[in-house]
Amino acid sequence: MPKIKVENLTKVFGPNPKRAFPLLEKGLSKDEILEKTKLAVGVGGVSFEVNQGEILVVMGLSGSGKSTLIRCLNRLIEPTSGKILIDGEDITNISLDQLLELRRKKFGMVFQRFALFPHKTVQQNAEYGLEIQGVERNIRAKKAREALELVGLKGWESNYPDQLSGGMQQRVGLARALAIDPDILLMDEAFSALDPLIKREMQDELLALQSRVQKTIVFITHDLDEAIKLGDRIVLMKDGKVVQEGTPEEILTNPATKYVEKFVENVDMSKVLTARTVMKKSGNVAYPKDGPRTVLHKMQEAGISSIFVVNKENRVQGVVLAENAAEAIKRGEKDLTNIIETDIKIVEPETPVHDLFPLMTDIRYPLAVVDDDRKLLGVIVRGSILAGLAGGGN
């Protein structure tokens, strides 16, 4: 059974909204319906499923209905029609009390502009969900502290939100949602208000966190790079309807409509950008003398799953994957000889981004960018290419 199942969900704003239904059935567009009836279609018949432990990214530009959609899931906005099944139970017609109970126990929500309570400390913010459930003071303080620690905010408990940077504020937002230990996290453009560096960092941390807590996450974004990086599956929306649903790969390689194509093909400034412009200067490298344990530790510190091995002159020798390092540790090996992969793909800094895509499809580690002497200049992951394209280079 899917954790969340949305069936033909529709939200129409305006008086007597059902008037829009026959027009929707006829397949009229949002604009046409607005013109004819003065009704605004937020979400027009959307269906999808989210499985336990999965990150589903709902992506679309502003006006696509994605924010309305996520608010329908916990009924911050009342859907006009359709079903929302949480653990198989339809929540669209439960009573107010049941709804409050559901929001308290099952949903944690993270907002674009953080929505922290300015009059409460970081700790009190993180406690909010538990406080309104009437959880005893000591227990809720403990749970909130644990949640804050999980997002790396230990020591900031007694500060007020306005004393924190944007990235840290959103960590509080995340901790506030995690403190109630919900099954489902609703994240509404959670990282969109952060500057690009912090945003990337938060994305990495969310993924790391998710691998530990295994929540069911519905993540809203307008950023293709983010969608691809985070999503197990992506639902692409336009004008209140789903235009394509699939894994990031499917969407990138097989855009279903012109609209999706345009999104993906935005990308075609890729001929202008080179490997140098999109690569990340990597300070995280391993050395031939390192043992598997050291290497694994370095990867964990940096939150990466593979690491390049360079010699003293910074020349690339090969790459080690985290899982192989872990295996080697189990086998009791002391050096990297068995696990280093030396047959790796390298590119020159002047290679156009356009030519990088085919290289990246079947490797499990980033591309190494090297100079004429095979010295490591930087690394490229798929996300950084897309970030580069979206931002026109770093």
Binding site: F111, L116, F117, I132, Q133, R176, L186
Partner: protein, 282 residues
């Protein structure tokens, strides 16, 4: 020149309405009047219980502690000493008592009404035009019907003052709550807050600075009205001014006016200090 169609007897209707109200409800208003009168007298008794110099120390300490501003402390000392020196101490305490009682009534009615108006749109739509009416109708007009209901003196003064001074308390409470950013409301809702939890834990704390600005406005308006209320027999600084007008004694009028100014500045700074304090806590 009068209009060819006969005059609409609005004035007559109002008088009939008031007569009817007096006939049927004056027993209620009279008992309210008794309670309020006792309250005001009690307040005056407390303020007059200590000799002026002790009260001056208390007021100064209060002003200083609340505002944390030495200059306001100094102003309070000299301002009150001046009032004492001019022989206006008794009148000033009477005025202060009347202002405090009126403010207390205004706030304890106004804040709940303001909350109600903020939460229920239909109530908002009803009350806002009434507030406009209350504030724009010349204040003197309230004095006239107050007398048959509450008798001459302090209670009628308090009644008229409350009507005149309550609107900002209602308005700014409503404004403060409505200004709470929508995403904070959504956050409160998303975690399953009940309406009451949302109000107490989110909306009111965030609205407090605006709400305090309303309290400040109410006090200032009370003070200005309490002076006008001298015309229906309220004692205090206002009646000094009123006497000065009737006897054409500009010096006496100026002295009493100065007393009002001193009290106004002290009360204003203290309440502003309080609202700044709450703002800082936010």
């Amino acid at each position: 020149m009068s209009m060819p169609i006969p005059k609409i007897p609005i004035g007559k209707w109002i008088e009939q309405l008031i007569d009817w109200l007096i006939e049927n409800f004056s027993f209620i208003t009279k008992s309210i009047s008794n309670v309020t009168e006792t309250g005001i007298d009690g307040f005056i008794d407390i303020l007059m219980f200590f000799p002026p110099w002790i009260m001056i120390i208390i007021f100064t300490a209060l002003a200083w502690v609340i505002t944390k501003d030495r200059r306001i402390g100094i102003f309070t000392v000299f301002g009150l000493l001046l009032i004492w020196n001019l022989g206006l101490w008794g009148a000033t305490m009477t005025t202060l008592a009347l202002v405090l009682v009126s403010t207390l009534i205004s706030i304890s009615l106004g804040i709940p009404l303001g909350i109600f108006a903020a939460l229920y749109n239909s109530f908002y739509r009803i009350i806002m035009p009434i507030l406009d009416f209350m504030q724009t109708m010349p204040a003197f007009v309230y004095l006239i019907p107050a007398i048959p209901f509450f008798g001459l003196g302090a209670v009628s003064a308090a009644f008229a003052t409350v009507i005149f001074a309550m609107p900002p308390a209602i308005r700014l409470t409503t404004l403060g709550i409505r200004q709470v950013p929508i995403e904070l409301i959504e956050a409160a809702d998303a975690f399953g807050s009940t309406k009451l939890q949302k109000l107490i834990k989110v909306q009111l704390p965030i609205a407090t600075p605006t709400l305090m600005a309303g309290v400040n406005q109410t006090i200032m308006l009370s003070l200005s009205m309490v002076v006008i209320a001298a015309m229906i027999g309220a004692k205090g600084l206002g009646s000094e001014v009123w006497t000065a007008i009737q006897r054409f004694k500009p010096g006496m009028g100026f002295e009493a006016g100065l007393g009002v100014v001193v009290i106004a500045i002290i009360l204003d700074r203290i309440t502003q200090g309080m609202s700044k304090k709450t703002e800082k806590q936010n």
